[in-house]
């Protein structure tokens, strides 16, 4: 092929330029350490690299999230560990306080410590995280979780919200628990009662506080309060006035919501109770129940509706128009001319309290916000309930942790021993010699000093008044400062006085008997309250048992929360491992896609510069060749 001189140049130069451009690219790749300098170098790879970078960055972020989650969970865990220790300490104190050895003076000392513990518990409940957020307040993390009312009760101001953090592409972990759950407020009501409005209530009545006002008369039971219309109902014989002009067979018919309840002829009589029974017999059909209490009848809907109750009274058989008359039980003045009358009851102006066997406990007129008292307890209902609305109250022994500690304090601080200040003189009378069941001890102390302390090993062994008088003589000799004012055990009219005018305590310690009740001879014989019995009141032990139960329940609750936290922390560890290996993998893939293989690149660089040199040298060589050189 013919070659032109210009082409000879151009070819050589093109080749040199091409080599240089390749060389420059390799040089750039080496300088940047990357295969892909612009997306054009590997479009799919470049896009993948972007996606992989995002994935790596997101996963790193998940790791950060996990760190935060872990910090929060560790804080919660350590808070709950403190709470656990605290409960265990309180439990110990409770057991100690429940011991009869302690007296009224030392129990309040325990209470003082528990009061401190309660404060500590509240502050544990109000633990804040590094960002000053309340750990146990749910979503309301800037609201103090627990506050103490002036009456000492602790209220939860948070909610049941849990904060979740994203610790993996599809894994969220809860980083907290609701204070209400952790501190046992779920299922505890107010700690005394669980009160509820009935599900189908249609009015807006609200059940308020429910408290025990008189423990002595308190009867624990499920009570329900039925709201109905309070009305007077006449009983007795029905008053008919049959016009003598025509002797009719007058009849009275009572209907409720259209259903016939009762039919009475002239001269028939019904008591109020019979009317109540007749109405209730048809309750399934009419949807209306009647309650008779204290001469008042209460009519209430039984179905989940608030429809008016229509009581219809009818006079039948009258042929003399207005001259035949009758007066219905519900007050309708009926005549032959106007033989029927509807009385509509649509209010809830009265209430009936029923116990668990549906027996009426009490009843009365409903007053908005007024209190309803029965069987030693008192509750309030406010608002405007509808006829037929029901409220129930059930005693509940579950208490939240704060209330538990609060009741513990109350129990420890109230006198638990029936020890009373005794006058300086004691009159002892009506002494009956106790008879032992065998293997017992009879002990009487005066101001803690034995008056008598004798074993009664055999059944039928007894202690006589004479023995006591002898013992008293010995006692007076050994302990100056006591004087017998008059009488003796034997005469059942002993009056003992203390010279210094201070209190005198005569006691029969319980531990002197092994068979309960056998040696209670002196107990019933005191007069003037002068004999003090240092026994623990029955209510105290019940209260302490309840505290212990609640402490255990709450402890279980906290321990189960802690085990959940542990599980979550494990989860986080797992996820962290996953995240790290995923990052590693992504980085590796990323590196495969975009990082340069230096060995290969450098050998390419070598090769390329050699060919460039060759191109340059051959160009020079060809350049030198010209025929003109020889002309």
């Amino acid at each position: 092929m013919r070659i032109s001189s210009a082409q000879l140049h151009a070819t050589a130069i093109n080749s040199i330029l091409g080599q240089q451009s390749t060389l420059s690219k390799i040089q750039l790749q080496i300088a940047a350490g990357r295969k892909i300098l612009t997306p054009a170098d590997d479009p799919a790879g470049a896009a993948r690299a972007l996606n992989l970078s995002e994935s790596a960055s997101s996963t790193t972020q998940y790791g950060k999230n996990a760190d935060i989650a872990e910090a929060r969970l560790r804080l919660e865990e350590s808070t709950l560990t403190s709470a656990t220790d605290l409960i265990q300490r309180v439990r110990l104190l409770t057991l100690q306080g429940n011991n009869d050895v302690l007296d009224n003076e030392s129990r309040p000392l325990l209470a003082a410590e528990i009061r401190q513990r309660l404060d500590e518990l509240v502050s544990l409940g109000n633990t804040r995280d590094a960002n000053n957020e309340y750990l146990f307040a749910g979503y309301q993390s800037l609201t103090e979780a627990f506050t103490v009312n002036p009456d000492g009760t602790v209220v939860y101001n948070g909610d049941e919200g849990q904060r979740f953090l994203q610790i993996g592409p599809s894994r969220q972990i809860a980083t907290g628990d609701s204070g209400a759950e952790v501190f046992g407020m779920i299922g505890s009501g107010n700690g005394e009662f669980i009160t509820r409005a009935h599900a189908f209530n249609t009015g807006n009545g609200v059940l308020g506080t429910n408290t025990i006002t008189d423990p002595a008369t308190y009867v624990a039971d499920d009570y329900s309060v039925v709201l109905g219309e309070q009305t007077a109902v006449a009983g007795g014989a029905l008053v008919f006035n049959d016009n003598v002009g025509t002797d009719d067979t007058l009849q009275y018919e009572l209907r409720i919501n259209g259903t016939l309840i009762d039919t009475l002829g002239e001269g028939d009589a019904r008591t109020q109770a019979q009317i109540e029974t007749a109405i209730n017999a048809q309750a399934a059909t009419t949807g209306v129940s009647a309650y008779l209490d204290a001469g008042q009848l209460y009519l209430a809907n039984t179905l989940p509706t608030a429809t008016p109750i229509t009581v219809n009274e009818t006079l039948t058989g009258a042929t003399d128009g207005a001259l035949d008359t009758a007066t219905g039980f519900f007050g309708s003045a009926l005549t032959g001319a106007a033989p029927t009358n509807d009385v509509v009851f649509n209010n809830a102006n009265g209430y009936v309290v029923l116990d668990s066997s549906d027996a009426i406990v009490t009843s009365g007129a409903y007053v908005d916000g007024g209190s309803i008292a029965f069987n030693g307890q008192q509750l309030t209902i406010s608002g405007t309930p509808s006829n037929g609305d029901q409220f129930s109250t059930t005693p509940n022994t579950q208490q939240d942790l704060f209330a538990t500690l609060q009741s513990l304090i109350t129990a420890l601080e109230s006198p638990s021993q029936n020890t009373q200040a005794v006058p300086t003189s004691a009159t002892l009378s009506n002494f009956t010699a106790p008879v032992s069941a065998g293997g017992e001890t009879f002990q009487v102390t005066i101001d803690g000093i034995d008056l008598i302390n004798v074993g009664l090993p055999l059944a039928g062994d007894t202690v006589t008044a004479g023995q006591l008088d002898t013992a008293l003589g010995n006692f007076l000799t050994a302990n100056p400062g006591y004087t017998v004012a008059s009488g003796s055990f034997a005469g059942n009219d002993l009056v003992l006085e203390k010279d210094d005018g201070s209190d005198l305590v005569i006691a029969i310690p319980q531990n002197t008997t092994t068979t309960a009740g056998a040696l209670t001879g002196l107990e019933g014989t005191t007069t003037n309250g002068s004999l003090a019995q240092p026994d623990i009141s029955a209510g105290f032990h019940t209260a302490m048992e309840r505290v212990l139960n609640n402490l255990d329940r709450n402890l279980d609750n906290i321990i189960s929360t802690r085990s959940q936290i542990g599980a979550r922390l494990n989860s986080i560890d797992d996820q962290n491992n996953l995240n790290e290996s995923s990052i590693l993998q992504v980085r590796e893939t990323l590196s495969n896609i975009q990082d340069l293989d230096y060995a290969e690149a450098i050998s390419q660089l070598e090769q390329q510069s050699t060919s460039l040199q060759a191109a340059q040298q051959s160009f020079l060589r060809i350049q030198g060749l010209s025929l003109f050189n020889f002309l």
């Binding site: 151009a10 054009a40 979503y139």
Partner: protein, 644 residues
């Protein structure tokens, strides 16, 4: 013997001419477009004698250029192709480089934004974390702006380029017409004698033209050349030139269309001009810039739309309902500048997940509207006004007002300006809505083990709730023996729930207008157990909505199964692929061009060695001819001496 002198002289003259042609060749060895010339000799008319014809010497037949029209034509077309790919590569590489810079791309800003979001979600009550989130959101919008601005700058340059090239074409057309004129004058002897250098010049001009756009040529009988561009529009006919004019686009005054006057009408040939730099610019505009700007805008639109709607489902630090997070500009259809009717057109976004990267043209033909998706020319809708206003197209809804005249047209660019218009709507960190609007609680009196778990809310219009919604369980709520919940507040009524069969969980959605509230109840409640759904008052520590916001990062939000990030990756891959293709094509076209150029050079190029040899040959011939004259002279002298 005078004959011999004459013969010698004729040879001398002929070799002189030939030598000067060699000189001409040598001196133009590097002139672009020059074709080497050859002098061809012919014998002079012979002299007749009885013995036959005696030659009378030589004469220069003609000077012709050595060239191959086939190669020249191929060179022209290869030049067009190469120039197009080369220029396109130059243009698309700018975008490629723009996206190549990792720190300048969208990805790091997007990632930074979502990471700050997660940090803020980790700690929703922290104002500094919220502040950082806002700053990073601001940075993200800035990044959208800067990439958008950069692409728009490239677009402006491309437009300027287009105008300049049109002017260049016109200049070259004028030169060509002048050369045409000269060639017509210079062609003699019925086309046998041609002005070689003018022809070379014309070929060179044609080649320069071909670099700008593909041209078709037809040679006329008088030697002039007619040049056609586009789909056969005459640029140069004889010595007349039809100028290409750049006029503003009817929809976008910043855009130019190229038109050529044909008779009385102006023909828009922008899209017909293929090859050359014009083809490159038009391709760049249609295949890279428009889709690129739209793709970027689509990400901005999706981000704005999905983020805003999720954000509105939450409540902020102050307990108020979430507002928009990003501000968007909306879709602004452009009426054609030559519309005659009064009908206007608006468009609103209905589903960002359906958006494409195309623009749409709406044409009214007097009775029907026709909507065409421009990137694949697919007709998306044909029908009347009412139907148009009721048919969503690819994620947006057109609302046209009556009054359009037949032939009126509108351009809808659903995503074109979104990357430019995206801004931060929220300035106050307290207004970031991380919390969900409602929460649930179980009564402390509940004795059963049932639990209620709220699902994410799906509708913001229900909040805040006017009052609490309470659910109370009753074994006979729906009639004797049919257990369920009495609902008070909210929609009221009852919800069937049978703990015996459904204790593993049952999903509920409340009735309208509370249908944004769904929840799951599981476990076994006892009669009277109750749950309450309340407004999330003071729920500052709640991050439920924040978690949903953060999830958007990995949610498919952009048409084509893409997340925000992968949609950008798609754009990068698309530009990268185009650049890569352009590189390969450019290389191939370059080789082709070089080959053709080599072929041309092989035929028409000057080889100096060849010319040197020729020079020597002619010099020898010249010396020989001079010897002929000298011999003739000495012969004459011999004759004179004999006579003396």
């Amino acid at each position: 013997m005078a004959d011999l002198t004459g013969i010698g002289t004729s040879a001398l003259l002929a070799f002189q001419r030939s030598l000067s042609t060699v000189g001409h060749n040598i001196s133009n060895a590097t002139t672009e477009g020059f074709s080497r010339q050859r002098v061809s000799f012919a014998t002079q008319t012979p002299e007749f004698t009885g013995a036959g014809y005696f030659g009378t010497g030589t004469t220069v037949d003609r000077v012709s250029r050595v060239y191959d029209q086939f190669i020249v034509d191929r060179l022209q077309s290869n030049t067009s192709n190469h120039s197009q790919t080369e220029h396109f590569l130059g243009l698309v590489s700018q975008v490629d480089n723009l996206l190549a810079d990792e720190s300048a791309g969208l990805s790091p800003a997007l990632q930074g934004f979502f990471n700050s979001l997660q940090n803020s979600v980790d700690d929703p009550a922290s104002t500094p974390a919220r502040q950082v989130l806002l700053s990073d959101a601001e940075a993200l919008t800035q990044r959208f702006h800067s990439i958008d601005t950069r692409l728009r700058e490239l677009a402006e340059n491309a437009e300027r380029d287009l105008v300049n090239i049109a002017n260049e074409i016109n200049g070259l057309g004028a030169s060509l017409a002048r050369v045409n004129d000269a060639i017509v004058l210079g062609t003699q002897g019925g086309g046998r004698i041609q002005p070689n250098d003018l022809l070379d010049e014309r070929d060179q001009i044609l080649r320069e033209l071909a670099e700008l756009t593909r041209v078709e040529t037809v040679e006329q009988d008088d030697g002039s050349l007619s040049v056609f561009v586009g789909s056969g529009q005459g640029l140069v006919v004889g010595d007349g030139v039809n100028e290409i004019q750049a006029v503003r686009n009817k929809f976008d005054p910043e855009r130019y269309d190229l038109v050529i006057q044909q008779g009385q009408v102006q023909v828009n040939i922008t899209d017909q001009l293929s090859g050359g730099r014009i083809g490159a610019v038009v391709d760049f505009r249609n295949k890279v810039l428009d889709p690129g700007l739209n793709a970027l805008g689509r990400i901005a639109t999706s981000l704005t739309e999905t983020f805003n709607s999720q954000h509105k489902l939450g409540i902020d630090y102050n307990g108020n309902g979430g507002t928009d997070f990003f501000a968007a500009g909306g879709i602004a259809p452009v009426p054609g500048s030559n519309n005659t009717g009064t009908g206007s057109l608006a468009a609103t976004l209905v589903d960002a997940g359906q958006l494409t990267t195309s623009n749409y043209e709406v044409v009214y033909d007097g009775s029907n509207y026709r909507v065409t998706r421009l990137n694949d020319k697919k007709v998306m809708f044909t029908g009347g006004l009412a139907a148009l206003n009721a048919t969503p197209i690819d994620g947006f809804q057109i609302t046209a007002a009556a009054g359009a005249a037949a032939g009126d047209s509108f351009l809808i660019q659903p995503t074109r300006s979104a990357a430019r218009d995206i801004n931060l709507f929220i300035k106050d960190p307290a207004l970031i809505a991380h919390a969900a609007p409602i929460r649930s609680s179980s009564a402390t009196t509940n004795a059963g083990n049932a639990g209620l778990e709220l699902a994410a809310v799906t509708d913001a219009t229900t909040y805040p709730l006017a009052g609490d919604i309470s659910l109370v369980f009753d074994p006979d709520a729906l009639g004797a023996g049919v257990p369920g919940f009495f609902v008070s507040g909210g929609p009221g009524g009852t919800l069937a729930y049978d703990p015996a069969t459904e204790q593993n969980g049952k999903q509920f959605t409340l009735g309208a207008p509370f249908d944004g509230i769904s929840f799951n109840i599981s476990g076994t409640p006892t009669s009277g157990d109750s749950f309450t759904i309340t407004n999330n008052t003071n729920g500052i520590g709640d991050n439920r909505n924040g978690l949903s916001l953060a999830k958007l990062q990995s949610t498919v939000t952009v048409r084509g199964n893409n997340t925000f990030q992968s949609a950008f990756g798609e754009l990068v891959a698309d530009v990268g692929t185009r650049t890569r293709q352009a590189q390969i094509t450019e290389e191939a076209q370059g080789v082709l061009l070089q080959q053709t150029e080599a072929e041309r050079q092989s035929v028409s190029g000057v080889n100096l060695d060849e010319e040197a040899a020729r020079l020597m040959q002619l010099q020898q011939a010249y010396q020989a001819a001079a010897q002929v004259i000298s011999v003739s002279n000495s012969l004459f002298d011999e004759v004179l001496a004999a006579l003396r």
